[in-house]
């Protein structure tokens, strides 16, 4: 079990929480990002995630180092799942411990924002009437414009 990893099996958040817990930690925040069924009125059937695994793990570790520099005393573990994920599956987990709660909350939110900016992971949404890789040039089908 690594502190910064891409996995292709279901994520157990407790594993990552345990990795960052230590006697000086007074707070642990655990964020889990889940597959959402409805986005802007469009129904997702499932998601497929893909990653450039070695670079993605390196970037996760870099984000962890940024957090430890910005909030001294925090410890971080994060994982992102790839492959096909169903509605409500955990796509990403971020566990942060710190001596006091404020830093654990702040650093945790920082991590998810940075993941969305720099980590080479891609999401494909599969709908009832189509599919698309999601990126900065987000496109969603107009309601009723499907092929069926």
């Amino acid at each position: 079990m690594k502190r910064f990893e891409i996995v292709d099996t279901p994520i157990d958040p407790q594993t990552y929480s345990d990795l960052v817990l230590h006697p000086a930690a007074g707070a642990v925040t655990v964020f889990t990002g889940h597959v959402r069924e409805w986005t802007h009125g469009v129904r997702t059937l499932y998601l497929a995630y893909e990653a450039y695994i070695p670079m993605a793990e390196k970037k996760l570790a870099e984000i962890g180092a940024e957090m430890e520099a910005k909030w001294p005393g925090v410890q971080v573990a994060m994982a992102h799942r790839i492959g096909e994920l169903k509605i409500s599956d955990i796509a990403v987990v971020i566990a942060v411990s710190s001596p006091h709660r404020k830093e654990a909350y702040e650093a945790n939110e920082y991590a998810i924002e940075r993941i969305k900016e720099v980590v080479p992971i891609w999401k494909k949404e599969i709908w009832e009437d189509g599919e698309e890789w999601i990126g900065a040039q987000k496109k969603y089908p107009k309601k009723g414009s499907g092929s069926k």
Binding site: G33, Y49, E50, A51, Y52, P54, M55, A56, K58, H80, A91, V92, I112, I115, K116, E117, V118, V119, P120, I121, W122, K123, K124, W133, I134, G135, A136, Q137
Partner: protein
């Protein structure tokens, strides 16, 4: 020889996950131009290039032996 990786939309567009380019060296910008010419619809304006697992600038020079990846806009989380 330069190795290039394709992911997500680009993997589907090119129909391959990776290939080798028989070039001694070229810049990141030249690599993007090559990809756009070779694969119409590549969309180089929105794509970053990683060289040896680190984001590179357009003027950076890629050498034989380097491993490159085209990084379309990311959407993790």
């Amino acid at each position: 020889m330069i190795t290039v990786h394709y992911f997500a939309r680009l993997r589907e567009l090119t129909g391959k996950g990776e290939e080798s380019l028989d070039r001694a060296s070229l810049t990141v910008e030249e690599l993007l131009d090559w990809a756009e010419e070779t694969y119409p619809g590549f969309g180089k304006e929105t794509i970053h290039v990683a060289v040896n697992e680190e984001y590179a600038r357009k003027e950076d020079v890629i050498q034989s032996g380097d491993v490159c990846a085209f990084i379309p806009p990311v959407s993790g989380g």
